[in-house]
Symmetry: D2
Subunit: 337 residues, 4 copies
């Protein structure tokens, strides 16, 4: 029998039990020689010379990689890539660096659709009114309500999240415009949506859903001018990363009734107790809950196991996201604290 | 030029401007000799001898129909059929009696999906918590959150509403079980869902969506025993008619945390100010807002015009709902006040 | 126990075993008091006074209906309605007259798609060439080949067949234009296609699929002028009824290479042995095989049983096609001999 | 203005005009300093020191790559990868090696569906019969005809071709089982199909569609024993590569009526004039025409342009297929002559 390959599993950023269902963990430990590490310090260093793969987000500078001659894969179990890994060396040595963004995509996409319908129909707002005894029945409270069917919907970004979201919008027969400067138009067109400029998305959509990651290019992408280019009454759903939007500018426009918005990601988490966002009726407030649900976490372990098995067989991994060498330097995401 | 056929349009239950967009109204008055009536009393009686069609919900007993020998269509512009029309006589005389339930189907279906995601993910609940300064970030507030993807979802009823809703659920890859005793299994199976008994729907679904109309058979369909057959933690969405559910029994189970629910239709509207429903955290409260949105109302006029044109050409109407003679006697809906 | 209702099943137009699978037949005879009749003469007359329903296509003039006071349903087990039934009396007496067109819709739709791809790609033509030793490999024989993806496809008619076919075209992302003068544009638009005039369909489509029934209006609908309005190289698929097209005009245009066509229905069946159609390379020849496959026939019995059960319960039938009183007089179909 | 990057375009394997539409070629020559080469000999060598990218399939051993220090991309404009490129060096130097398999995927998928319906319904066979004057009308020739709706369909392989084909099968509501040993079950399950063993696919499918590429593992995958495990009357569609199937064994089973098959790829092309395949009525014969249609070729140029632009901007290519370093050594495809 072939000896099992040694794999280190770090307790950060996720405790093991969060990302590995019991049956998956059992299979994993049968298939690999798994070492659970409390931290990524000396313990990891001791394992490096024989290590086949590491599951977690440890610092992996050149010198550490040099001590891991058999390393074949880094599975970072985070949705984003951070600059604590020497990606160039990994690429050159054909070490797979993989992220688990796809594990969260369904959860975020469904949540984004929920927020979108909420903004279209005022569900959260009227629930609050009902509790306060000022609910309005039937047509009385529906003045601003709109259908998604046939609506103009804009997506900013068409990565994991956008690709999981678009099929959920398909049965509404909406006109979906997508802006993603990293993709040729044809990729978007083939998916059934329309490729569009940012300006097109903003000026022509009744609802804009921001699913872009943060890069040097997208930081502050939606400032006052961009928000003002949206039609009065437009709705904005923000589920990817807060820095894409100028928050003060957005809250100003919600406060004066020009826009409504649903926000899942915030400049500071937790937000100050006296943050004005907490009082705006035109907002749906959500404390960064779109992705991190039990089923999403459980996908991570399953993905890790599937992809490690493929790598062991000399096949390319297919479930986790490959750290594209061109892109890793561009991301500006910070870890979720 | 052929003289235009006379059509009476009643001001009730909807003011004209609510259900006819200006361009549709213009086309309508070009195509027909339209008489706007403030009420359905003497004015209507005077028109009866020459009338081709009536748009509205007037009483039409046998004697009145006898005075309308040229009447070809009654377009009731309500979502339901009430017992104020002599349907047998209409049928015998080949007078089309049409309802506009289909006009509301998209609006209700989208709203039902919004409520479903809200219950699955706690959107409204956490918005309230955020405003109260007790929000929980990321995984902390997501213990009970579930995906629709792959979920077991049950529908009770597969009429206009169910048929508009099912396609919206398709991209989630959910297992959808449908109970509708008026339909052979094959009709449900062909739509991509599974035909199921009521018990199957209740015991095997994580989320049950009630889209059944009220009849002698469905009144009180979901009583204490049925609700107790649902698994702990199950979610109930109620968007069709309140009498289908035993409200006290439902609120008891929400109060003790066994179920959560989203409710759009109520035993009394408006509900008393001290109704306990207003205080239950496990509820999403909605004041009968699922169907009555501007775009749904505007569909009604367009449907009326389309179907009257077909009838005038000797073709069957295709957009509004035909009052099936077998079913009109079974409905127990009351007008929305 | 309630006595079972008497139902007559005629041996024409289909032998019983063709349309009733053994298990369906068993259920049927358990549920109803079934009388198998070899013909519709005296035997049927004897049963009329007590008869609940008749399965088959007997002549039912007024006088015969007068002798059947308990008759509730005529299930004609044909795809079309013929003028041998007094539809007005049936309607007045609330006797359901039902046809089984929907049973064939899947079979015809799939076949139509097969013919469409065949014309787009030359499958049948190149199979013949291969057998004759003159096949051309790879690009050499593909000059005229086109994708359905993104193609302009036209449908003439949007009844049972069109509605079964359209979803099969959806994943190709084609632009589908539909002409059906019995339907308001909105019905077509909502289905995801574009409502179009006949001229629009003909002049803008690379492939036109004829799925219209024959009426006074559609007889000879596609004459020389209409065929000439199609772009050179266009393809025509004919699967509904032959009289819709001027056959000589069509064959002329196929013979001179202007059009190609796939034909499943013919002016005379069988066609003369010396018919020129048999020799044209630009045709796909099919001897009226689109609908009549074993699974389609077996659907008929299942539909009959389902709908009779509903009618017995006082519910409207939902699987077979109701003979719309406006339309029965318009059909010009002849029985398939 | 930045100088345009030099790109070499080889006249093989495709003449330029086949793969570049005029407008795309115009854009391409505006964006890059394009050099058209008649062959890949001295001309190419002269360009190597400054070359940014090469479009074509030249031999690129280590020594040649060493002379191309600025090379960033090899766009091979073939559907497969051959062993004439030093992939390891390319990977190490971050030179993208891209194939245009995806350009053919739509064409092959549509063709495969056409062949599948043909086998299900006997279109080609009955066209031949009609021409020979022995056609059978309506039910007479439909004994073996089956619907795709609800059928058991098996796919062997789930790469570019399988992924383009599966959505075309979705509206049929078929049960699709897929065998692909390079993929975890979850990838297949998520797509809506069922992950299956080869044995499962063969024994449970009414129709098996072979869309696997040739590797050491798939060569001769379907031998006599495997073909005999298929149910009598099963249908086989072969559109990827001939060596996957034992041809003699397949033809034996078609000859004796146990199986029918549609074959687009052959052990020798052209096939001998006296090949017995040419005479078998249970075959649909196609001379390698599934992929090479004008629209597929034209996609290649568009893909080349899109991906080169991305690479120039420091972004990853997204339209062509990346030569996975794990897989290039496994392919056993030979160029189409």
């Amino acid at each position: 029998m072939t000896p099992r390959h040694p794999v280190a599993v770090l307790a950060h950023p996720h405790p093991r039990s969060r990302i590995f269902a019991p049956d998956v963990w059992h299979e994993f430990t049968e298939a690999f020689d798994v070492h659970e590490l409390g931290q990524d310090g000396d313990e990891l260093d001791d394992l490096l010379p024989e290590l086949f793969a590491v599951v977690g987000q440890p610092d992996l500078p050149r010198e550490r990689l040099d001590h891991a001659p058999k390393l074949r894969a880094v599975l970072n179990v985070e949705g984003n890539f951070y600059p604590n890994v020497d990606y160039a060396t990994c690429h050159e040595r054909s070490i797979h660096v993989l992220g688990c963004g796809p594990a969260y995509a369904d959860a975020v996409a469904e949540f984004a659709l929920g927020l979108t319908i909420d903004l279209a129909r005022g569900i959260t707002r009227e629930d609050r009114a009902f509790r306060a005894g000022r609910e309005r029945y039937v047509a009385a409270g529906n003045d601003g309500a709109i259908l998604l069917r046939g609506a103009d919907i804009g997506l900013i970004g068409f990565g994991n999240l956008g690709r999981a979201l678009l099929p959920l919008l398909t049965p509404f027969g909406a006109t979906v415009r997508i802006h993603d400067p990293w993709l040729p138009d044809d990729v978007i067109t083939r998916s059934g949506a329309r490729a569009a400029t940012l300006s097109d998305v903003l000026t022509r959509s009744a609802i804009v859903i921001v699913v872009a990651t943060v890069t040097a290019e997208t930081e502050g992408l939606l400032g006052a001018a961009e928000l003002d280019s949206m039609p009065a009454g437009a709705r904005l759903v923000l589920v990817s990363r807060a820095p894409v939007v100028d928050f003060d500018a957005l809250l100003d426009r919600v406060a004066d009734g020009r826009l409504t918005a649903a926000i899942d990601v915030w400049p500071d988490e937790p937000m100050p107790v006296d943050a004005r966002a907490r009082t705006l009726d035109g907002l749906v407030l959500s404390p960064h809950r779109a992705g991190g649900i039990p089923q999403a976490f459980a996908q991570i372990g399953a993905m890790v196991l599937d992809d490690l098995r493929l790598i062991e067989q000399g096949l390319p991994p297919v479930r986790m996201q490959v750290a594209a060498r061109e892109l890793v330097a561009r991301y500006r995401n910070r870890p979720v604290s």
